[in-house]
Amino acid sequence: MTAAAPATAGEKTAALVASVEDLRVHFELKAGVLHAVDGVSFDIADGETLGLVGETGCGKSVTARSFLRLIPTPPGRYAGGRIRFWPKEARQSGGEPVDLLQVPTSDMLDIRGNRIAMIFQDPGKALNPALPIREQVAEVFYQHRTEDLLEAWNGRAPRPIRRAASQRAGKLERLAFKFPPLRSQSKRLKRRVDELVGDALAETQIHNPRKIMASYPHELSGGMKQRVMIAQALACNPDLLIADEPTTALDVTIQARILELIRELQHAHQTSVLYISHDLSLVRRICDRIAVMYAGRIAEIGTTQQVFHDPRHPYTQGLLAAVPSFAHRRGELAAIEGTVPELIDPDPSCRFHTRCAFATDICGRVDPVLDGRVAGRPVACHGYASPEELGVAAAELPHLDRSPA
């Protein structure tokens, strides 16, 4: 089922698209500092699909939004770490990555929607209700493909047209577009945009792009809206597509088709995907590797095979043990005994220790590190830590029964 994994954990052979290192995103709330993301690290290799799974509120969306710096600050704060990103040119020429948390805003605008694109959970909310589809998809081209739009002018486009092609035209200019001599040129620009928008929509198997272009979001079905979002996201051939639960809000029958579509287009565009979900069965179907997240941290990372057949972290083990139950609503992570810990001003500890059957004293006192040395792949559990480094006796560490139950 799984495609050949480009990179197995531990050996970073394939080129990376992105590398998150010790990312910390905090929210300063009245009650204290909420550690929504508190030391998250993972890599995304070129062309792979990395799944990020975890219960609701564990910080998946915050992690995803941090790639594009979409966290509202305040109350949010990028409290630490970095997200390195290698655009195509950098990957091919072995160039330097950029740190997405540090790049100047103008560079960030150029990355958003162009090098890194995002699909949101609820397509019904992610499209502007007041604008027709055409305008919304067109924005991507105006923003990132100005040269492309002006191709027909051979570099001799008049200034107002050039400004229009990058969405800089003022009110007066837009008025002038209604009259000769600019009228025909502005129409030509519009036609070119229509063409590109139509092609982008057609690529997501929308059969009547022209009709959809003239529609408003409320006139479309959820699946159709998500196709539009996908078309918009892939319009510029991004290096990385972040899909934040793209099918959760959709009908079960449509979910499968959207999933299939994302996979196909990912292959066609050679885009890496960060696929966020709390639906394990779904992630299993499309991801090469999986990062399991719990309460703002990564619990473990492995290939889909490894995570499903040889889960190392007690949290993952608990999740999988509960997975095939019909008692739970479809797509929801199964409940494990206990409650998710308070993330406001937390003390150093394994976040899972309150619910963990193996927890010992040390789990409530010391942060586990995401370490690949003992377990063979990154797992954040004291059960895999070395007693010497922690400065404790081996007996004080949790003793996990490692054979799959």
Binding site: L68, R112, G113, N114, A126, L127, P129, E139, H218
Partner: protein, 337 residues
């Protein structure tokens, strides 16, 4: 398309609403006072009074009187204005033009300031500019207009002398023809810069004063709805496309924030019409409101009824415009009867 049909339908219903309005206006006139009060004098004998009543048809049945009145209205005869000592229709156009000029100027102030300030504050939620704007907006909604008008008058006319009262400088006003009765437009038509400047100069103080309350309402609505829209997913989606904040705000968030604001603008116009009575009195503005106030004091029924009828029509028209705008902005609205 859809919107055009809707407008046509609304326009067709308009006469029905107007008839309803006229019924109410007529009934109020009969309940609220004696139609010939203004012509009565202490020395009159009962016979003379009866003669007057007979002359104005007050002995007919009420439906007959209504039909007679309505017939007059349709022929353009609204009776005789006692306070102006002239037929109502001779005075009304000028008065209406003056009031329209003032209210539209005030509406322009209120809408542009309200939307501008509201956008400014909403995009800076919970920061200093937002708090300042909120103080401004709350005090605007809480300040009684008669008091505010007098304060403005004292500051800008009495002390600073920056702005005049009244509508115009008499000699300049007389120097141009007045085909529309709207001073600013007439000045433009006459190509007279002096007259135009005079018109604007006189307009500023009453328009700002009159617009203050509505500005406050619009600002508050715009601020809160923009702040709310900025939390929506589509705003983040727009940012995720790489749009600069300027476009995210203008093309995406503000457009949707305008939807609830537009309804408030309709309400605000009602506010303006109410306020115009006070402002016209204090700033000596020769409009409908001032005329009406005189008429009320002297029991001049014909003038009062003309005022009520025409302000109702104005209000209906404004509401129609607001509904159309609303439908244009919010595509999800299903237009219907």
């Amino acid at each position: 398309m859809q919107i055009r049909e809707y407008v046509i339908r609304r326009l067709l219903i308009l006469p029905l609403i107007l008839i309803g309005t006229s019924l109410i206006v007529f009934t109020l006139g009969r309940v609220g006072g004696n139609p010939i009060a203004i012509y009565l004098e202490h020395e009159m004998t009962p016979e003379e009074v009866a003669q007057l009543e007979d002359r104005y048809g007050l002995n007919d049945s009420l439906p007959e009187q209504y039909v007679a009145w309505l017939g007059g209205v349709l022929r353009g005869d609204l009776g005789f204005s006692g306070v102006s000592a002239a037929p109502v229709m001779d005075v009304l156009p000028r008065r209406l033009a003056a009031t329209l000029e003032l209210s539209i100027a005030a509406a322009i102030v209120a809408i542009s300031m309200g939307i501008g300030l509201g956008t400014f504050a909403g995009a800076r939620r919970d920061r200093l500019p937002d708090h300042l704007t909120r103080v401004f907006a709350i005090s605007g909604a809480a300040t009684p207009i008669f008091w505010f008008a007098i304060v403005m008058l004292i500051i800008f006319w009495v002390y600073l002398g920056w702005f005049p009262v009244g509508r115009s400088d008499a000699t300049i006003f007389a120097s141009i023809p007045h085909p529309t009765g709207v001073y600013t437009i007439d000045a433009v038509l006459a190509g007279s810069w002096t007259a135009f400047r005079d018109a604007i100069w006189h307009l500023v103080l009453p328009a700002v004063t009159l617009g203050y309350g509505a500005t406050a309402i619009i600002t508050r609505m715009m601020r809160s709805s923009l702040a709310e829209e900025l939390n929506e997913d589509y705003v983040d989606a727009a940012r995720a496309k790489g749009l600069p904040e300027r476009l995210v705000l203008r093309r995406h968030a503000r457009r949707n924030a305008l939807i609830p604001t537009v309804t408030v603008i309709g309400l605000g116009f009602g506010f303006l019409l109410q306020g115009s009575v006070v402002v016209e009195i204090i700033f000596i503005w020769p409009g409908l409101g001032r005329w009406m106030a005189d008429a009320v004091l002297r029991g001049d029924q014909a003038t009062i009824m003309a005022y009520v009828l025409f302000t109702s029509i104005l209000f209906l028209i404004v509401n129609l415009i607001v509904d159309i705008l609303y439908a244009y902005l919010d595509r999800r609205v299903v237009l219907g009867g």
